[in-house]
Amino acid sequence: MTRLLDAVAIWKRFGTLEVLKGVDLSVTPGKCLVLLGPSGSGKSTLLRCLNLLEPIASGSIMFEGKEIAGTPRKQAASLRRRMGMVFQNFELFQHLSAADNIAFGPIRVKHMPAKQARELAHHLLRKVHLPDKAAAFPDELSGGQQQRVAIARALAMEPALMLYDEPTSALDPETVGEVLSVMQELAEEGMTSIVVTHELGFARRAANEVVFMEAGLVAHRAPVGEFFNGSAPDRVVRFLNRMHG
């Protein structure tokens, strides 16, 4: 099957610090790829490079059959519309209600009529199981609820690919489950996603493939069953054991 996204030999530096040292990553449509690895291994930076929020030093990024690496700023913005991104700290727009946050992208970027965008917002709020929170402002919602609104906001742009950057790391333990189950439902519906997370349970349940990153490199990649059956390299197994506490 042809790949939706195919990144080859991605290099990224911050000053003299080399964060990504030739990373390869690809995802096929309808699949969920989980990125694991110790903090500081470059996972989050990789996500931001993939949707061109961060420029890369060298490498190739094929997305929907086109080379997008090195796209000028202006066109980069329109490419980003095809990739939804969910952040660790939600980053809902504080001056807008939940529904207005979701309708924001369609209205401001796609110039969708406001009425239609609001209908879409209400539809997506139901999808993330928050049908009665349309009028709530971000500071009136729990972390888990905010993150689900943020997922709906990304979905509103009808992206071909969802990028999740540690979506549950800033959440209270009791609200982690509600966010992960929404993500899993989306994956099961065939939403192509790349998920940076430390939730091994989610990886087991929802991922098709797992990539393990370490020190700016892909150290190991395997289909999910194989990744967790003990056949992974020692340092991956050690990492997994540490994660289990």
């Binding site: 949707n51 929020l53 700023r73 202006k74 913005a77 329109s78 490419l79 980003r80 519309r81 990739m83 939804g84 991104m85 952040f87 700290n89 980053e91 809902l92 727009f93 504080q94 001056h95 807008l96 209600s97 529904a99 207005d100 924001f104 992208g105 401001r108 970027v109 009425k115 609001r118 209908e119 209400h122 539809h123 139901r126 049908p131 349309a134 009028a135 402002f137 943020a150 906001r153 990304a154 742009m157």
Partner: protein, 252 residues
Amino acid sequence: MGHADRQLGVLSVHASLFQPSLLAQYLVSADFFYGAVMTLWLSIASLALGLAVGLLIAIGQEAPWRAIRGTVWAYIWLFRGTPVLLQLVFAFNVMPAFGVLLPGFACAVLALGLNEGAYMAEIMRSGIRAVGPGQRLAARALGLEEWRVMRWVVLPQALRIIIPPIGNQFVGMLKLSALVSVIGVKELLLTADETASGNFRYIETLTAAGLYYLALTTVFMAIQSMIERSFRRRPSARRAVVAVPSLQTVIR
């Protein structure tokens, strides 16, 4: 107002104390009314110039080029570091020596506005900085171009933060504008002073001017709280969402 004038003034007040009818006459007189209009017009023009300069300076402070940041820093250093009265007299008395001969009103707006810009810049910068970088990142991730990020995400949030201090600056400007009486712009204070210099009725003239100032500041404080209320997001934003109540039932 010399020492002798002041003594005369005191004497005349002793001669006949406060005359309410004279105060009422001043309050409705064309002179005082025009003085108040001049004060108001001066304040609005200076504040408008201050806002424009302040926005440029605030953006300049965030500029990636050191030359621009240096220029902007020098501007703030100069205008905050010297008395506005000095700047006013400088514009009126020194600029003509360099061939720039502006009428008093223009000098007044120039000096007050440029001075205001230095303070306004700090207010605007604090507002823009208060909107976290994550908010911009989220907007860019949705596919917004940079100027749309500024227009629809940063400025709406920054504006809510900077409206109260800008309102304070305006009320301050109404009073600060009294300084321009020294360069002969006939606003409220100079009107009062010139009126009193004819009959020494300082108590009535200054009271009349004071009442006009109070009326102006009161009106503007009321306008400020109206603007703040309209920016208090909850009621208006709620209404916008509740305006489509049929939606959930439609989807259900």
